[in-house]
Symmetry: C2
Amino acid sequence: MKQDPRIVIIGGVAAGPKAAARARRLLPNAEITVIDRGRWISYAGCGMPFFLDGQVNTFEELFNTAYDVIRDEGYFLREKDITVLTSTEAMEIDRAKKMIRIKDLAGQEERWIPYDKLVVATGASPIIPPIEGRDLKGVHGLNNPDDLLRLMETVGDVNEAVVVGAGFIGMEVAGALSNRNILTTVVELRDQILPGVLDEDLAGVLKTRLESQGIDFALGQKVIRFEGENGRVARVVTDRGTLDAEMVVMAVGVRPNVEPALKAGLKIGDTGAIEVNEYMQTSDPDIYACGDCAENVNILSGRHTYVPLASSANRQGRVVGDNIAGRRSRYNGILGTALLQVKNWNVGRTGLGEQQAQALGYETQTAITPAHDRSHYHPNHSLVILKVIAEEGTGRLLGVQGIGPGGLDKRIDVAATAISFGATLENLVDLDLGYAPPYNTTIDALQHTANTLRNKKSGLVPMISPRKVWEKLQSGDDFVLLDVRTQREHDSKPMNDERVIHVIMGELRERIDSIPRDKEIVVFCDLGIRSYEALRVLKGAGFTNIRSMEGGMRLWAYGPVGML
Amino acid sequence: MKQDPRIVIIGGVAAGPKAAARARRLLPNAEITVIDRGRWISYAGCGMPFFLDGQVNTFEELFNTAYDVIRDEGYFLREKDITVLTSTEAMEIDRAKKMIRIKDLAGQEERWIPYDKLVVATGASPIIPPIEGRDLKGVHGLNNPDDLLRLMETVGDVNEAVVVGAGFIGMEVAGALSNRNILTTVVELRDQILPGVLDEDLAGVLKTRLESQGIDFALGQKVIRFEGENGRVARVVTDRGTLDAEMVVMAVGVRPNVEPALKAGLKIGDTGAIEVNEYMQTSDPDIYACGDCAENVNILSGRHTYVPLASSANRQGRVVGDNIAGRRSRYNGILGTALLQVKNWNVGRTGLGEQQAQALGYETQTAITPAHDRSHYHPNHSLVILKVIAEEGTGRLLGVQGIGPGGLDKRIDVAATAISFGATLENLVDLDLGYAPPYNTTIDALQHTANTLRNKKSGLVPMISPRKVWEKLQSGDDFVLLDVRTQREHDSKPMNDERVIHVIMGELRERIDSIPRDKEIVVFCDLGIRSYEALRVLKGAGFTNIRSMEGGMRLWAYGPVGML
């Protein structure tokens, strides 16, 4: 006699299998069926860009468990007693009868199956704008393993590629193509890369660093059409020019697959995704939704948001499994934490960006610092550039984002944790984080950035952004740009302008009379630390109109000087 | 007219220079003097083991700024207007007159210098037990650059070395010597490596993994004497045997240098270090203490503790600089967070260990899980073994510790942050941590461990530790040890015992009748995940007397099977 609920799950990629597996562990004897309209299930979608550039060796690895067993229908049946029906579409949900009509896409047969608890985990589909020529050969998406296989068939012969969209997937794909030595241009409608992920300042720095590694960008451009030759794509025409392209990858975003839910009368939220409560229940309490088809809640703003990520999908799937099995389990939402890798640069963010925070009505203060991710004498040391966004007055941490070849993920996760608990800048610098030379510096890069912001807030160090300095240089302002770097730094990355005075930090005190007292001074160095010291020296000597260029040359993304 | 305080700082290595530099930035015109009895200042003491094995290329790097300028007396004077007097000892503090008598150790001259604010940052000295033969050539410590230079003169000719003490420095040195292909044995009085850092269970696993990489251990042994030949050390005699050794490194701990403070009548705490309040003031409010000579407070226990670490020293130095300059700044104490690297294994901990928590009266529950640090298909993926210690009932997180070749530092820092805010296990798994394949798994290893502990707490999965399984095997218990690993895993790391039944997870349901229902069953796999699944299957089929071996073979540290 079975009293366990009959569980049907629509969607077999991430959230669905997670909910199924969790439910199975809690209810060893429940009947669990997963249906998916595709032929691939439980695959590592996030791993696809890493297969594209050869970091993942075999296609099968994207489907394997950690112990080398393929997660196919047989695996789910044998190891988890879960019935998986692939190539099977959910056609209709009869909520009154608690039945779902499913269709075998191969044999075209349809039948009704009953459920006690239904999980909608239908995922998302790529947005395909109605661009002329989008059906040409060589125009791809990268949403599922079939897309990946098609891409792999094309990519070997390609020398020039265009990626449409500079979001997560677009940037990862561009990095992978560039790693294959394909000349890659990313076209993006907005004026910056990774809009909504990075603030404009960090996005600008990242763009120049990726350009120096061979990726081109065509920002603020709209794709008008794809032009072909012999049925294959050959060019991408935008509103501002034409780009040669033997291959195009479309990555302009995804939209939630809500059709079966919508037809069943389940409530769809303002974001266009399925509305759920904190238990991941839809407007029908016996129907759950999770993963890329469901809405999320941003913890900081309290607002519904649509952020389809594998990490949320898995956390949500577990919560659904709990609730189906009668364990009351909540899902609290997201901070918008995200990580990605492009070439050898890491990108991460959590919480609110500066503009996002301002749009929500926060008065913000920010600091950006480049810093070493570990002791500078350790052979693995590298650079991270972190931006901290805090609420003015309270000093409450609102967001952290960063870029760099160095260890960024740790700082983002620490920030996400701190933000979750309402941390202030002072809380952040009080944290007893671990230290040893292979892992960080005695004061961690994140705490260093928080300290910098505290220094700024307290008026200790008036700052000016590199962009503002660039604008001053361009507009012909009369001011002194004081370079306090060492001779070697000065020579290797010169800032060529007649307004530059070079006085190395170690000589500043003795040569202080060589610096004009009647002019505005902007002092800069490599990382922004010596310029802060220099500013304090000059303040102490009675100079008044002086600012430090925030983040130093590591944040410079303009004009003749472009550096890694 | 100078109104700024005259600042004298005793100690020029870590906390002292940090306090001086911070004070300088806040008070551009204050007179700041640092004295140090040694000839080396502001060096990277934590980097010395990395120079020993060649990871740091030149001795100078340990003294360099990130922009390649040596931090010597001239640097401090030129760049920071700080007078540093090396080879100068603080002989006497006259608190009434606010004068300090200093002695030039080279010229033997003495003089009195005045202070308004005094900072005691005298550091710590290695404990040298009165062991016979400790003056033989080849018997070293590693407390300062002179020790390092002496070590480097010896180490090239050495084939066999003994390290006395299995604490932080002992383990780092043992790893460095082993990296130089020197046969290294670590002698430790206690029965485990890293006592006070790791709990016994993780310490046992780490020991076997380091043994397999060539480091030997002589635990629970007391060194009786060093024996020499021709004035050079040749053997180490312990209470249980004799070890050949052409070189010995003593690393049995350090004690705070409190002499000048003690003579001046400043209060010394129960730990033997200088007592300070939250502003780092000693019992004399115009005298501060920071770094390895000062007491710390453990935030979790509320107790004074002596944990000399570079990270605390730097945070404290900054707080002292603030307070000297009239900015009220607090230091809140530590969680006992620490990281170290031995061979290719990372070790980390924060908060309380299991035994430490119990000693403080907490009822604890723990879970240990081995897990991948990033997606298993990503080429850089590796293993981390995490232990989470929580308070029974409340589920409040008390401590996290871990070992492994994989990315451990991130999980320790996230745990330290969470513990700082009083997080529960549930808070921990709710965190929106970043995910992408190069950085972690969709559910981070730390959250996975927290989930495992929640499963344990809720009775979902009764567990037994590998040690208990080993004891059962040794004591001849009649039970079934059910191996659900794949054939390849089973063959490559066999558990040879007639009580083992091997049924791979994928065949468990169909072969369930081959498992005796009248016997106690312990099920195990590689990581402890499939054994949990198998346990749930067997529970569902009516088996009752069954437990899962916690952490699987990755935690096995006993008997014939020893694996990385």
